[in-house]
């Protein structure tokens, strides 16, 4: 458990010691200008150093690294030529992105223009999400269309969400064992917005938060943007180490903890009931807000869908638990409908943050969501059956093409957390890109830089033939040509 390690570097300027603390140990041991430039570039691309941040003056950084001034000058020159920094006369050297580069810290992105009809679209193994279930969206839209004109006579601002949808989401919680009133629901534009609103309301820059490690890459990005200090609870194939989690909560008293107890992303682990109770009790006793991400809770492949974690608390839910979810995995990510369940009072407060973030959500998406929510229990089984078949297909493909890799079969969720046996995830991901396979490095799911280099998250959300082709290409990238350069797969030295 990394506890209290400072990851945020999103200030206007980064100091030389702060930068040194983020560099891998082999760069520190023998600083060369190429290695230094590569390391800084990786930090920028990972979002560890924010954009529009001033790097240390060359002389200062050279001193901090015990390197020659020429080394730093050479590194900055390389970065400038490749477009990762820009020097402004008299005001130093600032991070930026080369023209045309894809977004930084945006893990779940398809190609820059979205899905293009031009050329080979490649095989996208970076997104653990499927298209919408056959016909259901069309039917829902047909239901929604005649209902739109009445709503469209008004200005269309419903920051809390459409009343009917708030009620439908509340009813679903109640049916799952957590009695909930509509006033306890804020309808958001997806679960990512739910998380960023909760973070904005509850945390101030510098506050300490705890996440699982590894955890959802875009949640880590949101915490970095909010300039929070991130501690972590280790999750492995064996699950959560609740003893260490409890002691970290006691010692660091974080403002907020963020967990994915149901088919955890990326490991797929399912938190056992007794650990849920301990987590509830530990966060209550430290006054820590517990944010539970249920985005994947309904993707229960081999076990019954778990009850909401908050339902294990007092009847009506523990007040310090905030539950978020969305229709992105059960239905479609292009439909921006998610939610937050909290006390009615906190929902009111969150809505003010929401107004300042984006005012209100799509009315059309919310009306379409109503029949989808209504029909969910009838439509979900077919989707789960398809995912089971694709999971089986992915396993067969991995056994065939990459027998040296290993994985734990998760009881639910949308991906395998594959162990490569050696720390080559970043190198493999880069080489795979050239072969038309888009896949996120395991390192993107790690709280600390450079960790999880021996992992890849491989979703089974594509049809079997595409999965097989993707794994075949990954194996080709792994075995062909020169061996992949292993990365340093251990925590970095931190000042």
């Amino acid at each position: 458990m990394a506890n209290g390690r400072v990851v945020h570097t999103a200030d206007r300027a980064i100091g030389s010691r702060q930068l040194a603390a983020l560099l891998p140990s082999e760069v520190l041991a023998r600083p060369g200008y190429r290695g230094l430039a590569d390391a800084v570039r990786t930090l920028v691309l990972d979002g560890r150093i924010a954009l529009h941040v001033r790097l240390p003056a060359e002389r200062e950084l050279a001193q901090a690294l015990g390197a020659s001034r020429a080394t730093v000058t050479g590194a900055y020159d390389l970065l400038r030529e490749s477009g990762y920094v820009r020097s402004r006369r008299g005001s130093g050297t600032w991070t930026e992105l080369p023209e045309g580069h894809g977004p930084v810290g945006a893990h779940l992105l398809p190609g820059a223009g979205g899905y293009s009809a031009d050329g080979d679209p490649g095989i996208d193994l970076a997104i653990a999400a499927m298209g919408a279930p056959e016909d259901s969206l069309t039917e829902a839209l047909a239901w929604a269309a005649p209902r739109l004109p009445a709503l469209a006579r008004h200005p269309g601002y419903h920051p809390f969400g459409l009343p009917d949808l708030r009620a439908a989401v509340a009813d679903r919680f109640t049916g799952r064992g957590l009695p909930t009133r509509p006033e306890q629901i804020l309808v958001t534009s997806g679960a990512q917005q739910a998380f960023s609103l909760v973070t904005a309301l509850l945390c101030r820059p510098g506050d300490r938060v705890v996440t699982e490690n590894p955890t959802y890459a875009n949640a880590l990005d949101a915490l970095r943007h909010a300039r929070l200090r991130t501690g972590s609870i280790a999750v492995s194939d064996a699950g959560w180490d609740m003893e260490i989690a409890e002691s970290t909560l006691r010692q660091t008293v974080p403002r907020m903890a963020y967990v994915i107890p149901d088919f955890h992303n990326p490991t797929g682990a399912l938190m056992p009931p007794e650990q849920r109770l301990r987590l509830l009790a530990a966060t209550r006793s430290t006054g820590t807000w517990l944010v539970v991400d249920e985005t994947i809770a309904d993707i229960a492949l081999d076990v019954p869908a778990p009850a909401p974690l908050a339902s294990l608390g007092p009847r009506g839910g523990a007040d310090h638990v905030i539950t978020i979810g969305s229709l992105s995995k059960t239905h479609w990510g292009g439909l921006r409908v998610g939610w937050i369940r909290a006390t009615a009072k906190m929902i009111t407060e969150l809505t003010a943050v929401r107004v300042s973030a984006d005012m209100t959500g799509s009315v059309l998406d919310q009306v379409v969501a109503l029949p989808l929510m209504e029909a969910m229990d009838r439509t979900l089984p077919a989707r789960l059956a398809r995912l089971r078949a694709q999971r089986e297909a992915l396993v067969r493909s991995l056994q065939r093409h990459t027998p040296e890799w290993s994985w734990h079969l998760p009881p639910g969720g949308l991906s395998l957390w594959v162990d490569l046996g050696e720390p080559v995830g970043s190198a493999l991901s880069e080489r795979a890109g050239a072969a038309g396979v888009h896949i996120g490095r395991g390192a993107r799911f790690g709280v600390d830089p450079g960790t999880f280099e021996h992992r890849l998250r491989i979703p089974y959300t594509l049809p079997a033939d595409r999965l097989d082709e993707g794994v075949r290409r990954l194996a080709g990238a792994l075995h062909d040509g020169v061996p992949l350069a292993p990365a340093v797969d251990r925590p970095y030295w931190v000042a």
Copy 2:
């Protein structure tokens, strides 16, 4: 021009001197417990003191105010009873909202549940927006429906926006005189999100930004949430004082300036071309990002629609200008489609912020937006004609019911910035609420607390009969019963 006044109070705790600096001078002159409680409550409701912030210890605040401890204790007791603070044993007194209260700092909100079918909906003069134009939304949806299935086969994540829509928005800029490539467009969920993304990318807590004063209330809220220091450029019925604006830019060198040059909200003023050129030059020379909000630019009632401010710069637009806009005023606020126009490089950077904020936008809304954008030049004239008629109706109603009020007839936009002749805006707004009229106080548009108490923004976005009924009820609230208590309409004393 208030320059460098610190408005942000969104830290975890507020100090006694910091709080004293926000209090009105009459409370400071003769501190009584009721006056103190009222003043703190107003600061919380205005978002000047954030929620979940610890107030100073009673003894400290008493010292800072030169008041008795009993005064502060009495004030805190009152606030506790009315639900605006909560005391936690051993950890002080924290701001919060009473159960069931509407959101704070959310100016443009209808009733808490959105438009309800129950009871008297009242007359909403707080929202300067209309329903969707007759039929156009239905037709656009009919066009979009058959196109959805092809998009729904993919996961639906398009963080930059659908390529066709990026191209359509770019074409519209080009047609208005500002050559723009699709890569320079990020499609957002409305203009408020556009503004909050730009702020998140460019500004860090404590950075200095400049807005007009008065300005759009929800933009001020977003700046407060981002913990920025707000300076201001005064805008009156006579327009912008560009000389003072230039000197303030020179003296304070703000990170960002936010302006609404086209039918400025709330005054309706239109910035003349020579002032646009001076603003462009002044911000360029101080290295200040200039954010131009074009949300209302198409609502040109008496003049031709203005060309984009950025088009006055070098061909292709000045790199330091970021232009935002949306379909909320020309079409419908319930359709969450807005945009940012900037350099292609900055659009890439903004998209990473967007992914961490809410991942991506509604696909359905974006497909529906395509035919609406296409038909805009054909559909807009009828909407503008209706707004002209309603503006005329509002003027007649004001002349009839409240002849003592005055206003400047704006050449475009959606509202009148009415001068009440005395600083009774807050009191009137409160009393009007009891009469079923929802209207925002002028003070919500002011950078500094307690200013613009003699103003109301009255939109002409309702039908003539509703406008007349609304003004009639406002006049009733103004004239009936005891005279309204005037507020202190001048800048507060600041430590």
